[in-house]
Symmetry: C2
Subunit: 221 residues, 2 copies
């Protein structure tokens, strides 16, 4: 098969190199943002961490602000990829919510880009970073899954889904922030499992209680 707008063969490696450089810069920036926070991060240090010249860095990103937004966007892309797999795995709506939560926690712990993206979203209120989209995306996903949970009979029919979704996203954020601040995230999964042990009885339909209360056990490192 032929692409409709074929890229001339000799340009392709150059484009791929540029993409690889850009990805390396984002990952290096995430490492530095994660270690130092936004305010202490300089583009010089990011360039050194990425192993590129400052000229190469400026070719891809206009400013530190631009770079922080790129980390947040890449965090959203990476978490959306994992979320998509979870969404397609055929679990019930309610089980999918719990599994999404657990998988996001795994990515926050394991992936420097996801960790830095999440950190930038709560840490930095001085400069205006593009944090709305990730919150909106998660809100939409949870909302749809809880609606499905109602249709499937696992979620209480009278649950106020708007209100619960708004709360559970804030509560997840709080569990993550407090665990990071107080315990370097060592107790993150324990806290998250406890959160769902408390919240599942609130949202489960009477017919689902026994089955639904087993879901928090899914939350392990």
């Amino acid at each position: 098969m032929t692409a409709e707008y074929p890229v001339p063969r000799d340009q392709r490696p150059q484009q791929e190199r540029a993409q690889a450089t850009q990805a390396a810069i984002i990952r290096a920036a995430a490492t530095v943002f994660g270690q130092r926070g936004y305010a202490r991060t300089t583009l010089d240090v990011v360039a050194i961490e990425a192993g590129v010249t400052k000229g190469a860095l400026y070719f891809h990103f206009d400013s530190k602000h631009d770079l922080a937004n790129a980390v947040i966007a890449e965090q959203l892309r990476l978490t959306s990829l994992v979320a998509q797999e979870t969404l397609e795995a055929g679990f019930s709506g309610l089980e999918t919510v719990v599994r999404l939560n657990r998988n996001l926690a795994v990515q926050i712990v394991d992936d420097v880009v996801v960790a830095a993206g999440v950190k930038l979203m709560t840490e930095e209120r001085v400069v205006d970073l593009e944090i709305q989209t990730p919150y909106e995306r998660w809100t939409d996903v949870y909302h749809a899954l809880l609606e499905r949970g109602k249709a499937e009979g696992q979620v209480r029919i009278d649950l106020d889904i708007d209100r619960f979704t708004r709360f559970v996203i804030a509560a997840f954020t709080g569990v993550q922030v407090v665990s990071a601040s107080l315990d370097d995230r060592r107790d993150f999964f324990d806290r998250l499992r406890e959160m769902w042990e408390i919240l599942l009885p609130v949202i489960s339909s009477p017919g689902c209680v026994d089955q639904c209360l087993e879901l928090p056990a899914l939350i392990r490192a």
Copy 2:
């Protein structure tokens, strides 16, 4: 009445001046930390904001780190004063928990020192600030009140108080952080009321449901 160790009259004004200066420096530091975050704050700017010389500032505080810990300690002192009033007002244990939450939110919105203390507790993970004590203090207070709530019959006898306390403090933190990040705290009280609308049915005893479900209405700006 005579004090047991009377301060010589001529020294008292000097001591009072020193205390007033120290309080002014802490308040100025809170203003600057609140506006710029920890990393961007310099002692020069704090001295200007406080209207003191840098020498006077160093007389009271050894470093920025020291000053940030002083803001956190003063935040704890101020919130403890209000909490003490609430604790002594004669409400039930469960109503006291809700009122403490509401009053803390009011202080975060109204008092620059409380706002900065809370911000430093979640924002700054690069330097080691003294954040354990405020979390421990709130944990102890909530724990005792929920135990009282059981004795008074409003709290479900089978509630796991350790687990719930750990969660509710993280959830409050998340509501505060997300509201600050996304909405400059405009929806803070609405989110907090929703949190309690969701959580009170979890912890109320069967006999208290009607009465207990009125408590979230206390949460207003």
